[in-house]
């Protein structure tokens, strides 16, 4: 029997995807495709809320965890929180795109169709509890983004972005499938719970080596998706070449989807080999933070800088996974780590989308993403400059902006276990957060403290207006960054609720 209430978010979003295509064919302004998309996303929130507060609603038949299709598809608080995050981020991403797409002759209907289809994939991932569903969901997230990255068809850079992204994407899919097939082969199970149960016997038998290789390849596949060093090569070029709203989408929704897959697979399917993935992700986290930050120091273009910054941020998000490196890690420690990852993902979505929003708004007016051209921004666009400062310092983790809480729980998760290796990762992360401050502040210094360069049409820019949709997106993200920073329980409560399956170790 199919539980339609549980599937309602996916169904509504799928309906919206179709509606966007239909509206695109009607003789109305293309603007309406975006409106339909936004309304659809908003409507998707409703069933997520009713599912979440099922207990206190009269019409809601059965509450608690809903399993479907033989345990392959599960609606629990984890999937609901993450779905909410995906929908919220996609909502902002659409808002960021509207003005951008209208400013030039882009194909709007198709763009929203692809973006929403990709979001649908993310929703599926949050609920999938077997290898095949997870893979299908992941490819649904990634497939449309190849096209979106190349949306500026006339530009060589955009083409390069799409092509690189496509080739790496296919490669990572192949690596992931290879790993998954090994895992399936040795355990004979597809569902995560089945794999975990099966792996107990496998690890004692002759095939344990094969299982370990399978686990490592699966994790590598996800490492490409979350652009962890050394699998990050595509990221800066793709981020720079793609239209900026697409970059924002890639760095938040698509990346978060990768982390969601990693969370589900590591904690559920590979629950018996925590030390194995703990070690692997420890290394990836340390490398991503360090390499991402060091290269970011040398960047002169804001988008590229944010590209490397998102690699480094990905490293920070991986840090809690590294806590599992200790052989004697306890269930409570893993819960702590799970909590930290989810918290970081939520806060990261707000601040990174906001940062890209500012980049789009300023880029629109200045027609340049070079940091030196942004000099003196504060003197002619004080509002945008202030927001720039808020988002960049939030990314750097300076209280009282939301990023500090993400960093705090990240540190907390690795120190909880008390092992030496985990502690070492905390020290690496601490040094990295100081390095990161330097390049984030570079942009802020330029915008606040330097003179306006010659040739910037200041008066014209001052007159110019930011698209209302973009203003709304900036308002949402600014509020998020400030309010969460002052009152973090808003996020920690959600993350607390989301750690449903981090228990049982």
């Amino acid at each position: 029997m199919i539980d339609y209430h549980a599937l309602a978010p996916e169904l509504i979003l799928a309906g919206t995807v179709m509606a966007v295509l239909v509206v695109d064919m009607l003789p109305v302004r293309k603007y309406w495709t975006a409106v339909i998309g936004l309304v659809g996303l908003f409507a998707t929130i409703v069933p997520i809320l009713t599912l979440g507060f099922c207990e206190s609603l009269d019409f809601c038949a059965s509450s608690g965890v809903r399993e479907m299709f033989g345990g392959s598809y599960v609606i629990d608080t984890f999937s609901l929180v993450l779905k909410g995050l995906f929908i919220g981020s996609a909502f902002v991403a659409v808002l960021l795109s509207v003005g951008y797409l209208e400013s030039d002759r882009f194909w709007q209907g198709e763009f929203y169709f692809l973006m929403l289809a990709s979001v649908l994939g993310a929703l599926v991932m949050a609920s999938s509890r077997d290898l095949v569903t997870m893979f299908v969901g992941l490819e649904l997230v990634t497939g449309p983004t190849f096209l979106m990255a190349g949306w500026r068809k006339g530009e060589a850079r955009s083409n390069e972005a799409a092509l690189k992204f496509f080739i790496i994407g296919v490669l990572s899919a192949a690596v992931l499938l290879f790993g998954m097939s090994l895992v399936y082969g040795v355990t004979g199970e597809l569902t995560f719970t089945g794999i975990r149960a099966g792996s107990v016997g496998v690890l004692d038998g002759d095939l344990s080596g094969l299982f370990i290789i399978g686990v490592l390849f699966t994790i590598l596949g996800f490492a490409f998706k979350v652009s962890a060093v050394p699998f990050h090569f595509w990221t800066p070029d793709t981020y720079e070449g793609a239209p900026t709203p697409v970059t924002a989408y890639l760095s938040v929704v698509s990346k978060t989807a990768g982390f969601v897959g990693l969370l589900a697979i590591c904690y559920l399917a590979f629950g018996e080999v925590t030390t194995l993935w703990g070690t692997g992700l420890w290394v990836l986290a340390a490398l991503s933070m360090t390499v991402g930050n060091l290269i970011a120091l040398r960047q002169s273009n804001v988008v590229r800088l944010l590209g490397y910054s998102s690699i480094a941020q990905g490293g920070f998000i991986l840090v809690p996974f590294g806590a599992a490196i200790a052989a004697d890690v306890t269930g409570a420690d893993l819960e702590e780590a799970f909590f930290a990852t989810v918290t970081y993902l939520v806060i990261y979505a707000f601040m990174n989308l906001g940062a890209f929003g500012v980049v789009i708004a300023v880029g629109n007016r200045l027609r340049s993403g070079e940091i030196k051209d942004w000099a003196g921004l504060f003197s002619y666009a004080p509002g945008l400059a202030t927001m720039l400062g808020l988002f960049f310092f939030s990314l750097a983790g300076i209280p009282p902006l939301a990023g500090w809480f993400a960093k705090l729980v990240m540190f907390r998760s690795v120190l909880a276990s008390g092992s030496g290796w985990a502690g070492a990762l905390a020290v690496i992360a601490a040094v990295n957060s100081v390095i990161a401050f330097y390049y984030y502040s570079k942009v802020v210094i330029s915008a606040f403290m330097e003179k306006v360069p010659d040739g910037v049409p200041v008066a014209e820019i001052r007159e110019g207006r930011t698209a209302p949709s973009l203003q709304f997106a900036l308002l949402l993200t600014t509020l998020g960054v400030v309010v969460i920073g002052v009152y973090p329980p808003l996020v920690s409560g959600l993350a607390e609720a989301a750690k449903t399956f981090a228990t049982g170790f």
């Binding site: 008390g418 329980p489 920690s492």
Partner: protein, 521 residues
């Protein structure tokens, strides 16, 4: 008045300036008068309430008072726990006092590029961060307030700071002083506080799963940590606090930051921000990690005394008046740290009165340096001279403040230095008397050097004949806003100098209690 004593009063003292900052955001940029009055209103209210706290404070009671403890981030067991005792009370009042005077002084003295609205917002955010740090009793809350002060100060230095071009030695980059100083200030502090946060987290996990400072102390968190780990935790905290103080050899950000900052920035930096570090030693390091504090005390004391001597010698080599005062801060904070390192009630009392005195005296010195460089358009002492003739009142105040700074008995600066040295004569049991007495002697030499460089500065700046280049210049002596800002400070310097009980009366019981709890004396 029940609501006032149940934490609301204290919360208002801390958050009124922040509310003021938000209100200021809504005032159009052109309406400068409204902005100034708004800022004055909120800072003034915060000061008045902090004075009211003093009257509501029960001086016979050593523990925390007038505070509250409500849930904040339950997921990580952190709560909004605030309160004051005799140690923090004087510092809270100092911070609201100096904030208010800074706004009064700013009234007609806006550094370039003007923009009073942004400048006032930054001062008010700073005020919340400073007062908050002194009242926070939860480590996470403390961390947040401790860091909140960074951004405003960073922007203050970076935007309104000194525009001289400098070349950075190793990297061979030419940049403006303000840009270099602001980022250096931030990176140093952030580096320290990142490790401080790690230390806090280890304390949490190993010390009984609480961030509450009082609970950590009474739980005997140090025993739970085990001495192997406690060393590292103390080292992490030390790094965070010592950068802020700043202690030699982590002090190098300070002269740059002070020199580059606009006048009000220097004043707030010297008067309050440095105290956050020393206060943290007293409030966090000693009660929670008493054994490690005692083990580290000789190191702290030695670094403190090196700081005293080094800073005095550096002062003698300065040509820039503001830089000289900045280095003198390093020396004075050295006395404060020496007092703390003795781990005795006398030493810690000395440290707190030293902090208050340094806040008022050095704050005033920076005001003077700022006003003078505003009039002469130079801070080069070689070009100044004859200030006493050109601006008699300014010269007199400078002379008075320099005397206070060198520790003249009867003025505020005397007590901190004298008692720190006195405490070093007989440090806490378990500390090497020989070492501390040696340090006392060296520290005493430092006071002589301090007298030397301050008199030397007076001689160069105040005395003698005006240089030829100033012939025909008309100088405005101290104006009304300067008087309104400075006279209260002068009164405070004299009052504390003559009645040190103004500070000791509050601190003594709490300090004795703190030392007794930490070392079981």
């Amino acid at each position: 008045m029940e609501w006032f004593e149940s934490g609301w009063g204290l919360s208002l003292v801390v958050f009124l300036p922040l509310i003021g900052a938000v209100v200021l955001l809504a005032i159009p940029k052109a309406e400068e008068e409204t902005q100034k009055w708004t800022a004055l209103l909120f800072a003034g209210a915060s000061f008045v309430l902090s004075v009211l706290l003093v009257f509501r404070f029960d001086f016979g009671e050593a523990g925390m008072q007038l505070g509250t403890n409500v849930d904040w981030i339950t997921a990580i067991n952190s709560s909004f726990h605030i309160g004051v005792d005799g140690i923090s009370l004087p510092l809270v009042v100092l911070s609201t006092f100096i904030t208010l005077l800074s706004i009064i002084y700013s009234w007609e003295h806006w550094p370039e590029p003007h923009n009073p609205k942004a400048f006032l917002i930054l001062i008010l955010i700073l005020a919340t961060g400073m007062a908050g740090t002194f009242v926070a009793l939860d480590l996470i809350l403390f961390f947040v307030f401790f860091e909140v002060v960074l951004l405003p100060m960073y922007f203050m230095i970076g935007i309104w700071g000194d525009r001289d071009e400098i070349t950075i030695p190793v990297f061979n980059i030419t940049t403006q002083m303000r840009l270099y100083a602001s980022i250096k200030f931030f990176l140093f502090t952030l580096f320290g506080s990142a490790f401080m946060l790690l230390g806090f987290l280890v304390l949490y996990f190993k010390g009984g799963r609480t961030f509450d400072m009082l609970e950590l102390a009474s739980n005997g968190a140090e025993g739970l940590l085990g001495s192997g780990l406690a060393v590292w935790v103390f080292a992490a905290l030390f790094l965070g606090f010592a950068v802020k103080v700043p202690m030699f050899p982590l002090h190098t950000w300070l002269p740059d930051a002070h020199t580059a900052a606009p006048t009000v920035g220097s004043v707030l930096l010297a008067a309050i921000l440095l105290k956050l570090g020393t206060y943290a030693f007293v409030r966090i390091a000693i009660p929670i990690l008493p054994e490690q504090s005692q083990n580290w005390a000789p190191v702290i004391a030695i670094l403190a005394v090196i700081g005293i001597i080094y800073a005095s010698l550096a002062c003698l080599a300065q040509t820039d008046m503001k830089r000289l005062i900045a280095f003198s801060s390093v020396g004075h904070m050295g006395f404060v740290m020496l007092g703390i390192a003795t781990m005795t009630p006398i030493g810690i009392n000395a440290a707190i009165i030293g902090m208050v005195a340094h806040g008022v005296i050095t704050g005033l010195l920076f005001f003077l340096a700022g006003s003078m460089s505003h009039r002469y358009h130079t801070r080069e002492m070689a070009r100044l001279g004859g200030n006493q003739t050109l601006m008699p009142i300014m010269g007199a105040i400078l002379g008075f403040t320099a005397m206070a700074s060198l520790g003249l008995p009867g003025l505020a600066g005397f007590w901190g230095e004298f008692m720190a040295l006195l405490a070093a004569f007989s440090p806490a049991a378990g500390l090497s008397t020989t070492l501390f007495r040696t340090l006392m002697v060296i520290g005493a030499v430092g006071t002589v050097l301090a007298a030397g460089y301050l008199l030397w500065m007076l001689q160069k700046v105040n005395f003698g004949e005006p240089k030829d280049e100033w012939a025909g210049h008309e100088f405005h002596d101290v104006d009304i806003f300067e008087k309104m800002a400075w006279v209260p400070m002068i009164i405070a310097v004299i009052a504390i100098g003559i009645f040190p009980r103004l500070v000791f009366g509050a601190t003594n019981d709490s300090v004795i209690d703190l030392v007794a709890k930490a070392f079981g004396g």
